[in-house]
């Protein structure tokens, strides 16, 4: 396998090639879920996995071209993607459920919620 002038040979090239093939297949399937995810939470999970797969690809690329700088890129990406996941999780908790499901009128009537709470207290006692 020859990339950007640096050459690795033997089993390592096979490992990078086959492993990279699987990871890229995984990236494509994750993008499928990112586009079609029915709820916002699905998309956030897909985005999280996408960043992890991208980090894996970066580490593989660092092996393939024998440049250690790509590991720094992977480290920075892990920092940023963690912040993105936390921010999206906070956002999901704030946004109205009728928005992120794409269905209006999904919210329960207040009486049902109240009876749920009462049932929970009854079970506690």
């Amino acid at each position: 396998m020859i990339m950007l002038g640096a050459t690795i040979e033997g089993p390592l090239a096979w490992g990078v090639g086959v492993g990279g093939f699987f990871v890229i297949l995984g990236v494509l399937m994750t993008v499928y879920r990112l586009v079609l995810g029915p709820t916002l939470a699905d998309r956030v999970v897909a985005l999280d996995l996408l960043s992890v797969l991208l980090m894996a690809l970066l580490v593989m690329f660092a092996i393939a071209v024998q440049i250690a700088g790509y590991l720094d890129v992977a480290l920075a990406l892990s920092l940023v993607s963690f912040l993105a996941t936390v921010a999206f999780a906070r956002y999901i908790e704030r946004v109205d459920a009728t928005d992120h499901n794409g269905v209006s009128g999904q919210a329960q009537p207040a009486s049902a919620t109240a009876s749920d709470a009462a049932a929970g207290e009854a079970r506690d006692g």
Binding site: L12, V45, A56, M60, G120
Partner: protein, 138 residues
């Protein structure tokens, strides 16, 4: 020998990453997708980062790769926990046969929407879900 070990770890990591995204595509609701994506994805990433240890030219490179692995290992559960809690509280659609923890339901009773159900609920008495009855939608 080191190269063979590194190549084996790279392929194993790639297969785990692929399994993670396979679960993300195939599983019926967001909690199962999270289970697949977080655990298998992190494990695949760890294998790939550890593969560098076998072929790194210097300790410096090795430490950097292990730092990436450590950081993913720390942050993946935290992020997944936050997203899961947010999904639970906002009532993300749930696979019908899922058993709900009543204590958790009571704790979140104030800030919680009732989720929609996906698929057929499991029969009351059937302990092992039969394959035909509980087939999730693709």
């Amino acid at each position: 020998m080191d190269e063979i070990a590194a190549a084996a770890l790279l392929i194993l990591g790639g297969v785990f990453c692929f399994a993670a995204s396979l679960g993300l595509v195939r599983f019926p609701d967001v909690y199962m997708r999270m289970h697949a994506a977080t655990k298998a994805g992190t494990l695949g990433m760890l294998f790939i980062a550890i593969a560098i240890v076998f072929v790194s030219p210097s300790v410096e490179v090795m430490v950097r790769a292990l730092l990436v692995a450590l950081f993913v290992l720390i942050t993946a559960p935290i992020g997944s926990h936050l997203v899961g809690r947010a999904a639970y509280r906002t009532g993300a659609p749930r696979w019908a046969p899922t058993l709900e923890d009543e204590g958790c339901r009571a704790v979140f009773a104030e800030h919680r929407r009732e989720p929609e159900m996906i698929g057929e609920p499991a029969a009351e008495t059937a302990a092992p879900p039969s394959a035909a009855a509980s087939q999730p939608p693709a």
